[in-house]
Structures are given as C-alpha cells and as structure tokens.
C-alpha cells in the first residue's frame, strides 16, 4: 500500500499516522507538503491527519481545504482513490466538499481526550474490512470540535445509504446518549462519501495499534486497508 500523508502547517498527528502506517502496512508513507500541487505517482491512499491546521483559527479545516494540495486530493478522490481523514482531517474533508456536513463544537463546549467505544456499522468497505459489522472497538479521541452536524436531509441520506461507518456507543454496543461523547447527530463518529472511497472520522485509531502501549483496536482499520491494496495489486 502506497500512502501519502498530507502535512499542513499546524497539523500535529502526522508522525503518529506515519508511524502507524509503517507499522501496520510495512511501507513508509510519503509526507506531502500542503503547498505541493501533486501527489506522489502511484499513491493508493491519501491520509489527512489530525492536528490544528492553520491553528484552526478561521473554522476548523476551512483554510486547509483551500490549500494547493487539496485539488490533487479531490482529483484523487474523483478517480475513486481512497482518502482517509482523521480528526482535523475529517474536518478538512468536510470543508473540502469531499464529505457532507460539518463538525461543530463539542456539546459540553470543552476539548475532550479519552478512550471511546465505536460500533463499526459495516465491514464491506476498504476502510472497515478489518472489522466485523457490529463490532465494538475502543479508540481514543482528542478534539474540541467533533460534534457532527448536517441538515436532516443529508443525515437521512447518509443513514439510508449506509454511509455511517462508525458510531459512538456504550461498551456493550448500544446507543446511549451518555456515551455520545461530543453530542454528534445520531452519534455519528465517521462517515463515508457517496462512492464509499472517502472516510472521515473523529477518533484516532492510529493511537491504538501497539499492544505494549495499550489497546490495539485501531489496528483493524490499517490492516484492512493494507489487505485491500494487497488484493487490488
């Protein structure tokens, strides 16, 4: 799997992401600078990592969405290429028009860093094939603005088309407002694009991949992607 991690000024989880991609897929990703206009030839997967691109000063992801490299990312997605956005990356993909909706401030109006439980809603996508549908995974999140909001029509379409990939749930897998950590609409933690080739999610699976450090539930996402490209190739 040939992956490219996009680096905007102020992004700060690019090292975590690169390390995990290397660890799980065995291949070092390319780091792509925001001012570049092209992705490395043969890129399979584009990852927009977490952080605070441009300080999140205007609106999370709004400035990064207009960076030169994003045209290349949009083109890659347009060709059906895979794009993964995590945390600030999810916000950037929403602002770029690659995913619908927006991430608002957490309902409690505070930054939250803690492990949460996600239910994997489907396992038939390149991003989630490493999991079973209905499986509950434990991954950390760290954000101040992860409260997913879209107009009711969009939400209905997302739900109807099965484009909700991950949902915040209680440890037993049941929906529970107490476990919907940021107050997201329908407890949405991650969504897919219409063609299913773009995934955005707020939590950080890349931080839960090493048994020696903690839980490894994040590994499935990267292992699944690696398998996907091994098969494609």
């Amino acid at each position: 799997m040939k992956s490219a991690v996009v680096v905007f000024p102020g992004i700060n989880r690019e090292r975590d992401m690169a390390r995990t991609l290397k660890l799980v897929s065995g291949t070092e990703p390319s780091m792509v600078w925001h001012a570049d206009t092209a992705l490395p030839a043969g890129t399979d997967l584009v990852v927009v990592p977490g952080g605070f691109s441009y300080g999140d000063y205007l609106r999370c992801g709004a400035i990064a969405a207009r960076a030169p490299i994003m045209d290349a990312v949009r083109a890659h997605a347009g060709r059906g290429g895979l794009v993964l956005g995590v945390c600030n990356g999810f916000q950037i993909l929403c602002e770029s028009g690659l995913l619908p909706g927006v991430l608002m401030r957490n309902a409690a109006l505070r930054f939250i860093c803690k492990d949460v439980y996600l239910r994997v809603e489907r396992s038939d996508t390149p991003f989630t094939r490493g999991y079973n549908a209905g499986q509950v995974i434990r991954v950390p999140l760290a954000h101040g603005e992860g409260n997913y909001v879209a107009d009711s029509e969009t939400v209905a379409r997302l739900e109807g088309d099965g484009r909700v990939a991950f949902r915040y749930v209680a440890p037993d897998g049941k929906l529970d407002p107490r476990w919907n950590i940021n107050g997201a609409t329908n407890a949405i933690a991650g969504i897919l694009s219409e063609r299913g080739n773009v995934l955005g999610l707020m939590p950080h699976p890349e931080n839960h991949v090493e048994g020696a450090i903690g839980p490894t539930d994040g590994r499935g996402l990267f292992a699944g992607l690696t398998q996907h490209f091994a098969k494609v190739a």
Partner: protein, 736 residues
C-alpha cells in the same frame, strides 16, 4: 546623543519597579542618567523575575551535578544524559500572575514559554506536565479561574501537539488572590546536538525569528515581580496572547535549521523579550551586541524603541547564525511562513547598543546588565517549629469508612479527570501510563526505554515546616517515579512564594530551599533547571509556600513499569515502610476534623532511599503486580485508589493495637508504598524486603468489590468511585 523623552523622574523610576538605591546603582554603573529606553531595559533585567535577586544567594546551595547531568541551571533548560546518545531537556516555569489576571491566555502562554525553552535547546518536546493551585472552591472567582486556566493549558498544548501527561491540582483559600500555574515541558534531543545561548564570533548576524513584535506583554516580567493590590485586573494589557500555531511552526523551523547546522547560538524571547534574549546571548559569549530596531518585524506601526525592547510578544526567537548558512536558514523560515530578519550583529565591544530611527537609544555595558543586577541577602526569620501532634489527642469525629468516603470526595483528593481529559495526553503515541497514576510513563521513541514524569509538592507541609516540606516535595517526586519502576535522575524546581521583603516569607524560601537541597543530595536527585516566582501576594496575604518539584526518571523497559490498579483477587497486599500514624498536617486532620495543626510528617531520607530502592528492584524483576506510593490521605486512601482503578476490593487486617485506627489508616507517614503480589510469592517477596532491612507488613488480600476493615462496615468501591469522580464535574457545573 541619546534622546530622553520622557524625562527620568523619581516617579518614573518607581513605576519601573526600581528602588532608589537600585537606581543609584544604575547611575554609578553608567556614569550618567539613563535614557528612557535604558531605564526600561534595566527594569526588565533587574526585576525579581529575571534577576533572581532575592533567591540567588540561596539557590547556590542546591546540588546541580551528577555524572548524568549535561547542563545544570543557567541555560534555557536543564539537560540530562539517558544513554543511547540521547538527552532529556526539561524545565518548569510559573505563569502565576498573568494567569490570575487573564486565566486562559496567562496559562496558555505559560505552556508556550516553557515549550520554547525546551526546543530552543534543540529538543523536540515529548511531554508536558503542570501544577495548578487555586483558591477556596467557595471563593467567587475560583470556578472561573479553573475553567480558564485548564482551557488555556489545554488550548496551547493540544494545538502545539505535545501530550500533557500529568500534574497536580489543589485548592486552598490562601491561593484566592494568587492562583499558581506551573508548567513543565520535557523534550528529547541527541546528546551531542544541544544548542546553547552563548554567542561566539564577532560580526555574526543576529537573526530574529517567529512572530511579529506587538505591544503586548510590556512590563510582564515587572508585573510578575510585584504584589497584587486592588485592581489587579487592570493589569490585563501586560498579559501576552498565545499563538500555538505559530509556536508549532517555530518548533519545526528551528529543529530543521538546527539539523542543517545553521545555528551558532539561540535564545528564546520569553520574559523581557528582545532585551533579555539579546543581552544573554552577548553576555554569555563575552561579546557585545548591536541591535537595529528598524529591522524588527512589528505587528503595529509607530512602535518606539522602548516598546520593542520590552514587548513580550510570544513565539519569537533570537539566533546567531553561521553567515554562510543565512540563505538556507531564511528559505526554511519562509517555507514555514515565519518572519526572518537580521536585526543586528555581535561586536567585540561588550556593549549593548540599540539603534532606532537613526538614534542610539541605548548604549550599556552588556556584562554588567546581568551580572551587576542587585543581589539581596534579605533578612529572614525561620518559621517556628510546631509541636508534633499526638494521634491520641485527635478524637475521630466519625467511623473510618465514613471518613474515607468523605476524604475521597474532597477537592484535594478527588479525581482530576475533569481537568486532564481536556488535555490531549495520547498524541505522539508514546503515553504508556496516562494521568491518574503515581507518575506518567512516556516511551522514548520506539522503546524499550521510557521516562517517568511527575510534579509534586505538599504546600501545607511547607507552611508548617518549610525545611521538612522542602524535603518532602523532593522525596515525593522521587517516590512517585520509583513507584512506577523508574530510576529518579533529576528535578526542575519551581519555587512559588509570597513577598520576599517580609522576613517570614523569606524564612519560608530559605527553609524550603534548604530542605530541597538536603533531599536532592541524599537521593542523588540534582536540580538541573528551575524558576522562582515571588510576590504571590494580594493585599498583604501570601500563598502557601509552594516549591513545585518536577521529577524525571528513567525506565530501562517500559513494559516492566508498575501501575497502581489491583490486578486480580486473592493477591497479597503488602505495606513497605513504617507506620506510626502521623496525623499532624494530614488531610484527615484538615478535611475530616477541621484542624490545620501540628508538625508535618518528618522525612527520613535514608529510609526513603532504602524503601524506594528495594521497591524499584522488585518492580524491575517483575515481582510485584501493583505499586502505589502512600501520600495525601494516608494508607487507606492509597488502597482505595488502587481499588477504584481496578474495581477489585480488599480485605484488610486490623490496625495494630498500639496505633489508633484512624491514625493508622489516615496518618501520612512518609517513605511508604502499598504493593500487591500473587499470594504464593508473598513470603519470598517479604523475605527480599527484609533482607534489605526495610520494614514490610502483610496488610490484606485483594477480593470482592468492597474494602473490608475488621469491625467496620464494608466500603463499596462503587460508592467511593462515585464520590471520587463526582466532585469536580459537579463543582464546575455549579452544582457542588
């Protein structure tokens, strides 16, 4: 030659925080009246915050050397060797005064400043910690301050991208008008690639990097060198505004140009901004500095030399570059979108010359600016010793289970989850032990080595007996590192006190420093960096003496670190160390009995060392399943914390006959740890501890979901956990 507008009057001198005799010293030094800009420069260099004039004579007694110390106090941060060609760079610094006036920005820039100190030396920050002290929860400002400070600490660290892995939060009415924000940063560097402040070479370009200079933070350091009177809020313009985004860019750009070999010397612009950084670079290198202020990137037009020299705008650096690398360095900074300007050069003259708009605004002897700052051996009176409180004289107002349930939900002992969940503590993927344990454990790169990090101090002990309190702060940091299995290496100290011009306050400082020095010597735990914050007083009322100790230790293998949670039912619970039942200055005495009395528990440093060394050995050999140091709240609170972390309870033995039960369970005797071991190994482990001549007692067995003490009702872990986790969120939402 030097334009003097406005004229220097006695009132103007006083406004600059300079005493008449200090002003006379300036006149004697330069042989003429200073210009307005020069007066500003002197006030910046000679205030308490920058010159350490009241504490210097005492700080000299701190041990600062060990074979693993690469750089002790005096640089931006301390540096220690951790083997494998790597060094750890760390320091703690206060941002108390600004955080009271403007909690979010005050705290945020505190974090920003300490991060800059660390990466200035060429280290990539890998962890932050902090120690926060707030006023009485019932004080009308406390909630606002907690909310703002925590958001500010998180806002900066989270955005910058460093995990905030540990700290302390306490409440006491003596912090009502002066909350404390002590921020610590820890970075990792290659041992032979540490960068220092001393300039070298004549005619070398001095480069200004980072954000533009604005009118914020002017006189920030002077503000932090005075007491608050009425209307402290009016000092808001002296508080800087943080920009973590710029700081992150500055970090990446600095590390990149350092890696490219462009840098001769580097100094961050912290307190007293351009003045302090330029003077330090020159003075340390025995060189003069010429500054051309017309080239300083400014955020606003029409800034005077005075304003530029005293601005504390954040996220700025000063560097001496290798001339041949100038273009390369500039390209890197442009790439990161940061300002880059050559604002001066080094000279052989040992003068500090500041030019602006064709005029020489300052022309001062550079060495003397720092070296000739006044040093005071201020008069002090030792804090009178308090008599030890006899446990028998304390009548327990309630049963032991009731006292535990009360204590565990008090502001000082309750869970600080509400705070640390606002800090990103998992970024970088190396946090092995998250907040909530004895010490945070952070893996170094891909391991197996890891750092154990902690911040500790018990201000009520320091107030009652500064010497013992100083010792205890160091011992507790050492103990917390030991309890996770780390070898304690060095500390950074952040000494927070009231007005040093009062002999009683000075007595606290002197006593604490003496105690810290004693403990550091006995435990081989030298001080490599630090900061002093005085004048933490409002309308004549000072804070509790609060010498925060930030400790750094090393684990050879992070997979062997110990955690405090019980691991399984049926394991033997052991208590290492001796228990007499010391109730003086205990939380039990204060929060259950409503009395703040007696001498604090004495710290026997030989005992500390022996008890800790054997525990570390046991952990290293994988013989114990859980370990926790006994501190605030005593033995039963330690056990409760181990139970709550796991959901597993314990059936305990009765208190020994010669010790009153409440004193046994809640006394705060030092040098103690609770550990668990599988039952079949208990005898062998106890034997090992005995062989080290360390007392160890079997105090129970892990079991069930309650804590059971003979003759008392069982205490449900669930009830404890609800109280433990409940108070702070309820308080912050206005319900408690």
């Amino acid at each position: 030659m030097i334009p003097n507008e406005p004229p220097i009057t006695a009132a103007l001198v006083a406004e600059h925080g300079l005493k008449p005799d200090e002003y006379q010293r300036i006149l004697d030094l330069i042989g003429r009246e200073p210009s307005f800009t020069e007066l500003g420069i002197f006030s910046a260099m000679w205030n308490e915050h920058c010159s350490y004039k009241s504490s210097k004579v005492h700080l000299r007694n701190l041990p600062t050397k060990a074979p693993w110390v690469i750089q002790g106090p005096g640089e931006n941060a301390g540096v220690i060797d951790i083997g494998d060609g790597l060094a750890v760079v760390f320091k703690m610094e206060s941002h108390n005064h600004p955080s009271y006036i403007e909690p979010y920005q005050g705290a945020a820039t505190g974090v920003g400043g300490i991060l800059r100190d660390v990466f200035t030396m060429g280290a990539r920050p890998i962890a932050c910690l902090n120690a926060l002290s707030f006023g009485d929860p019932d004080h009308p400002k406390t909630r606002h301050l907690v909310s703002g400070v925590v958001a500010g600490v998180g806002g900066y660290g989270n955005s910058f991208g460093v995990p905030t892995v540990g700290g302390q939060v306490r409440f006491h009415t003596r912090y009502d008008g002066n909350n404390l924000v002590n921020a610590m940063a820890v970075g990792l560097a290659e041992k032979d690639k540490i960068f220092y402040a001393a300039a070298s070479g004549v005619g070398m370009p001095i480069v200004y990097l980072g954000s533009k200079t604005g009118r914020d933070g002017i006189h920030g350091a002077s503000m932090a060198s005075a007491e608050f009177g009425e209307g402290a809020e009016e000092k808001r313009p002296t508080v800087q505004v943080g920009d973590p985004f710029s700081e992150k860019l500055l970090l990446e750009a600095c590390l990149e140009i350092m890696a490219k070999g462009c840098v001769i010397a580097i100094q961050d612009m912290g307190a007293a901004g351009l003045t302090c950084s330029a003077v330090e670079m020159g003075a340390k290198g025995n060189l003069g500095v010429d500054l051309e202020l017309d080239r300083v990137p400014c955020r606003e037009t029409g800034m005077s030399a005075y304003e530029m020299m005293l601005s504390e705008s954040q996220e700025r650096m000063l560097m001496v570059l290798k001339p041949e690398k100038e273009a390369e360095a500039e390209a890197i900074f442009k790439k990161w979108g940061l300002d880059f300007a050559i604002v001066g050069h080094t000279t052989p003259s040992k003068r500090f010359i500041v030019k602006h708009a064709g005029d020489v605004m300052a022309d001062l002897p550079i060495k003397e600016l720092g070296d000739e700052a006044p040093v005071y051996d201020r008069p002090y009176v030792e804090t009178p010793k308090k008599p030890a409180l006899k446990a028998a004289s304390v009548t327990p107002p309630m049963r032991v289970p009731d006292a535990l349930e009360k204590l565990i939900g008090t502001p000082d002992l309750c869970s600080k989850r509400w705070v640390w969940e606002q800090y990103d503590h998992v970024i970088l993927g190396n946090t092995v032990q998250r907040p909530g344990g004895d010490a945070a454990v952070v893996r170094i790169e891909d391991g197996p080595k890891a750092l154990a990090l902690t911040v500790d101090v018990t201000p009520r002990y320091c107030e009652a007996d500064p010497y013992e309190g100083g010792k205890q702060a160091v011992a507790e940091a050492w103990r917390n590192i030991t309890a996770v299995g780390g070898k304690p290496l060095a500390i950074t100290d952040n000494l927070n006190f009231g007005n040093p011009e009062k002999p009683e306050i000075m007595g606290q400082l002197v006593g604490c420093v003496r105690g810290i020095a004693e403990a550091c010597k006995a435990l081989d735990f030298p001080v490599v960096s630090g900061n002093v914050s005085l004048y933490n007083e409002t309308q004549g009322r000072g804070i509790l003496p609060t010498p925060s100790i930030g400790g750094v230790g090393l684990l050879d293998d992070f997979t062997r670190s110990a955690t405090l949670a019980f691991k399984a039912a049926g394991e033997t619970v052991l208590l290492i160390g001796e228990t007499q039942g010391w109730l003086g200055q205990s939380l039990y005495l204060r929060d259950v009995c409503g009395r703040e009395e007696g001498a604090p528990p004495p710290v026997d440093l030989i005992e500390e060392r022996e008890n800790g060394d054997i525990l570390r050995t046991l952990i290293g050999e994988g013989l114990v399943s859980a370990a926790h140091d006994v501190s605030d709240g005593g033995l039963l609170v330690a056990i409760a914390e181990m139970a709550m972390a796991s959901g597993i309870g314990a059936t305990l033995v009765a208190a020994p006959e010669d010790t009153p039960a409440h004193a046994f369970w809640f006394g705060e005797d030092q040098a103690r740890y609770v550990v668990t071991v599988p039952a079949d190994r208990a005898e062998a482990v106890m034997q090992r501890v005995h062989e080290a001549s360390v007392p160890v007692h079997r105090i129970g067995v892990t079991s069930g979901e309650t804590i059971v003490i003979p003759g008392e009702r069982p205490i449900a872990i669930k009830v404890l956990a609800d109280r433990f986790e409940g108070w702070l969120p309820a308080y912050m939402s206005g319900a408690a």
